[in-house]
């Protein structure tokens, strides 16, 4: 066991670089700026996708067409809503967290390939513009899954732009993943083996492996789609010997693992947030780390459960079995997080509230996921609002709540300012309740017979749809509480110390925001990133406080007596 308990005595606070608008808009290879660029770009598209969702829910207030001219316009709304939220919000947002945090967590000065990192980011804005440009040429209308022949023979030119945009985003994703893997492999500090890495790093590693293995299949499918649409090939046209199931298979071979691309980094964020704010070591570190890899691996064998109503009947059972197996490593994670909370000293910071919200909502998505894996039941609810509900519990209740938790947790590090905790709690309460009432009733709608992707529906489903729509409007508005919080906190928030949460991972062992080189000298990581509750960890954290200033909850035996910090910003 390592004996270094207080490696950073003698470390000093330096004035970190705060980033202005001009820094954000220019080409730079600093991973921190690139991380912020990712996050801001993704957040912009979150608002775009959210606005589309609001239009969808407005249309669905009544069973007939109201605000849309025809079904086609409505189809374009949800097609772009889904694509934007997946490929331009969650995936790049997670890449933003990865970019900002990974070198800091590893005590490195930058990513392994800084120039490639910047290039991967700068593919995203043009790709996003390309996708939105579809509205000028007839936007894609075949859903984010874009099944042929609807997407080939029956769609307008926006579908081609859609495919080209996804090509760029896929490339960006692959380049980012290569960079993450090489960085994790080669740039860990002395004393940090794979099993001393923070779990967020493990999550990014597992995610990057999935991206590297799966995204080329998306590229393959998109290439065939573009060829069919533009060059006149017939890969997906059965009248000319093509096959419509070819797309479904190749597309889902990417897009099911893509679910884990979106949710594993959120798992990583959750592991950090729960442990730090419950003041307790993560329960079953190895189980959580390795279950990410298990999910990554098994995740490649389950794709056809998205095709239970189109797949040859004989093949359905094998995919049901693999899909159910994946519940086991996911369950391990959930129970390990519960074990982390048990006997902790839970602090109800905004980050922790969203972490707890994640845990409680993601469980619902997990349970409905196992139900969906069961072929006979899936047949009934396939392509209904039950699936819409399930996927939003996973991707909103999971990924987006994870992103929120991460934002509250790392905003002080990124900006040097604390977010307002009162606004944070308000944001959590409004989001949590309106989220539940937006998505939970959709289970019932789907089971009772409402298909997804319809602008008109049977009148008996109206009352629940009104509940869903109203809740969704509140959910949409709740986002602005966070945006407002970010704006006021950036201007006048309380100054953040280096380590406001008394966390043991390395990104907190430097000033907030960190200097351009991240650290002064080579930092030595504390031997266990989750070693809370031990005397040596306490000594290490106290040493950090004496070097960099007090945390939000200073230890009573810290070197200097410090007044209790108010919860809200000053």
């Amino acid at each position: 066991m390592a004996t270094i308990s207080v490696p950073l005595i003698g470390g000093r606070a330096v004035e970190g670089k705060r980033f202005g608008i001009s820094d954000i808009l220019r080409w730079t290879v600093d991973h921190k700026v690139i991380g912020i660029q990712y996050m801001l770009t993704a957040s912009f598209f979150f608002i775009v996708g959210g606005a589309l969702a609001m239009l969808i829910r407005w249309e669905l207030l009544t069973p007939t067409l109201d605000i849309m001219a025809d079904g086609q316009q409505y189809n374009q709304l949800f097609s772009i809503h889904g694509t934007v939220m997946i490929f331009l919000w969650i995936v790049p947002m997670m890449a933003g967290f990865g970019n900002y945090l990974l070198p800091l967590m590893l005590g490195a000065k930058d990513m392994a390939f800084p120039w490639l990192n910047a290039f991967a980011f700068w593919l995203i804005p043009p790709a996003g513009i390309l996708m939105l440009m579809g509205w000028f040429v007839g936007q894609a209308e075949a859903g984010w899954t874009s099944y042929p022949p609807l997407s080939t023979l029956y769609s307008l030119d926006g579908q081609t732009l859609w495919a080209m945009s996804l090509h760029l985003l896929g490339l960006s994703s692959i380049l980012g993943a290569v960079n993450f893997i090489v960085t994790i492999k080669n740039m860990r500090p002395v004393g940090m083996g794979y099993f001393q890495m923070p779990l967020f790093v493990w999550a990014i590693l597992a995610t990057s492996i999935i991206i590297l293995m799966a995204t080329p299949f998306l590229a393959g499918a998109l290439t065939l789609l573009i060829l069919d649409r533009v060059v006149g090939t017939q890969f997906f046209n059965p009248a000319q010997g093509g096959d419509v199931l070819l797309w479904q298979n190749v597309f889902w071979f990417y897009s099911h693992p893509a679910v884990y691309i979106m949710v594993l980094p959120a798992f990583g964020i959750l592991s950090e947030v729960l442990s730090v704010h419950a003041r307790k070591p993560i329960f079953g570190y190895r189980a959580i780390a390795l279950s990410s890899l298990a999910i990554a691996l098994v995740g490649f064998t389950v794709w056809a459960h998205h095709m239970f109503t189109s797949l040859t009947p004989e093949l359905r059972i094998p995919f049901m079995i693999t899909s159910m197996i994946i519940a086991v490593p996911t369950g391990i994670k959930v129970f390990s997080w519960l074990g982390t909370l048990f006997m902790g000293k839970i602090r109800f910071t905004s980050a922790m509230l969203f972490g707890l919200g994640f845990l409680s909502m993601f469980v619902i998505g997990g349970i409905s996921g196992v139900m969906l894996a069961s072929v006979p039941y899936n047949i009934h609810v396939h392509d209904t609002y039950f699936v819409v509900s399930h996927l939003h519990f996973v991707l909103y209740g999971g990924s987006v709540f994870g992103i929120y938790a991460g934002l509250y947790h790392w905003f002080p590090k990124i900006s040097g300012r604390m977010l307002d905790e009162r606004l944070g709690r308000l944001h959590f309460i409004v989001t949590y309740i309106s989220f539940f009432f937006t998505f939970f009733p959709q289970h019932i709608l789907g089971m009772s017979g409402m298909p997804r992707r319809v602008a008109v529906y049977a009148p008996e489903y109206q009352s629940l749809n009104v509940v869903v729509s109203i809740a969704s409007f509140i959910l949409g508005i709740s986002t602005f509480i966070l945006i407002w919080n970010v704006i006021v906190s950036l201007r006048a928030g309380k100054r953040a110390s280096a380590n406001p949460w008394r966390a043991l991972t390395l990104e907190w062992a430097t000033s907030s925001p960190p200097p351009v080189t991240n650290f002064i000298g080579d930092p030595v990581p504390y031997r266990n990133p989750y070693g809370y509750g031990s005397e040596s960890a306490n000594a290490y954290l106290n040493a950090l406080e004496s070097a960099y200033g007090p945390s939000e909850h200073p230890s009573p035996d810290a070197p200097k007596a410090i007044k209790p910090a108010p919860a809200a910003g000053d």
Binding site: L150, A327, V328, P564
Partner: protein, 398 residues
């Protein structure tokens, strides 16, 4: 790492075993209670399959409900019991894991999913298997309507009808493989296993009857099948569940302002006799003894739903209220003025054979092309076309 072997459930937290047992029982009964809501959420059970599938769902909901209560219960308990008191800046217990506990929460979910998988396989094997004496029906999906095809051969003639009464060409058709009768609705009767063989004329669709709990995609270039056995007489909405374009939401059964069923519905009659007398025999008689008058024949063809016009066009005489294509009331007088030098009859003929040739302003080119040659998609014989045009020319504004 400091791996503690203390069990957080027993040592340290001071929870007595009685409370653990009580919580366990509460979780199990709570799960059963949640499971009992299943029938209230699902549509009424109307098929043999729905009984098995609902039982499976109820089982999964009970287990899922228990897991939900367990996790949320643990969460709420921890949040209340282990919250940091004001001013307490100390850390929690340095527990890094517990191998026994981790083993248990790996094995128990593994057992649960194994049981679920076995149960699901048994339900699946019984629900999708081929049944004896199936009624076979053909289904065709087209943007945005369903057509159901029934075979009429010599054995299925309506009572009182003999082959001798038929005109020679119709008799020959009946004897050589049979006539195809078409309807926008799927008719069957109680306890009759149905096998539907499905094709699409354009994009993928999905055939779903929520009341029967069955769904199957229609795939371009393939024939797919679906099976179910209704056990309750009644009407059940048929829904398209795979995005097929602008009118996807309209590709389902609906009810008009007068309470009539419009579009795709499954009609389950009380008995085979009722099925024949209320549905099959009148349809068969109309096909066996076609009216001489082309106008009447045209009306009969369109009303039968053999061509999916109803989903897009308005014809008051037939009760059509589609909103995607032009209104056909009084179409004859408008068609005569559309293209200089072309009669209304010629204009309509071209508009059906080549819908893209003339577009009514304000409408897109969405209509399928109806071809004159057998074997082509959307085959419409010249006889039918003549009769349809004759009928359309008689339509008046109502």
């Amino acid at each position: 790492m400091n791996l503690s072997t203390r069990s957080p459930g027993s040592a340290g937290s001071g929870i007595s075993p009685i409370w653990v047992v009580a919580a366990g029982l509460a979780i199990i009964f709570g799960g059963l209670l949640i499971g009992s809501f299943a029938p209230a959420i699902l549509p009424p059970q109307a098929s043999a399959e729905s009984r098995q599938i609902d039982a499976l769902f109820r089982f999964m909901l009970a287990i899922g409900g228990s897991i939900f209560l367990l996790v949320q219960g643990m969460l709420v308990y921890s949040v209340i019991r282990f919250r940091a008191k004001p001013g307490d800046a100390s850390d929690g217990a340095p527990i890094h894991g517990n191998t026994t506990l981790e083993f248990v929460w790996t094995i128990i979910p593994a057992i649960i999913v194994t049981v679920l998988a076995l149960y699901s396989v048994s339900v699946w094997n019984s629900t999708h298997s081929i049944k004896p004496n199936e009624q076979t029906v053909g289904a065709v999906g087209a943007r945005y309507a369903w057509t159901f095809n029934y075979q009429l051969d010599a054995r299925a003639l309506p009572s009182g009808v003999t082959l001798d009464q038929l005109e020679p060409n119709i008799r020959a058709a009946v004897e050589n493989g049979g006539l195809t009768l078409s309807s926008t609705q799927l008719h069957t009767w109680v306890n009759q296993p149905v096998a539907v063989s499905m094709n699409t004329q354009d994009v993928n669709h999905a055939f779903w009857i929520p009341g029967m709990r069955v769904k199957q995609d229609l795939l371009a270039g393939r024939t797919t099948e679906i099976r179910f056995t209704p056990i309750e007489a009644g009407v059940y909405r048929i829904v398209c569940a795979e995005l097929c374009g602008s009118g996807h939401g309209n590709m389902a059964g609906s009810v008009d302002v007068n309470g009539n069923l419009v579009g795709a519905w499954l009609i389950v009659h009380e008995s085979e006799d009722a099925f024949r007398s209320e549905f099959f025999d009148p349809l068969a008689r109309a096909a066996l003894f076609p009216p001489e008058d082309p106008v009447e024949r045209g009306r009969q063809i369109l009303a039968s739903g053999v061509y999916p016009c109803a989903s897009c066009h308005v014809v008051d005489d037939l009760g059509w209220n589609g909103a995607v294509g032009p209104n056909l009331n009084n179409v004859g007088s408008r068609a005569a003025t559309r293209v200089a030098g072309e009669s209304a009859e010629e204009y309509l003929r071209i508009s059906i054979r080549m819908p893209g040739a003339y577009l009514v302003p304000g409408y897109n080119n969405l209509m399928p092309q109806f071809n004159a040659e057998p074997g082509q998609p959307n085959y419409m014989p010249d006889d039918d076309l003549d009769a349809i045009i004759a009928y359309l020319l008689t339509l008046k504004t109502s």
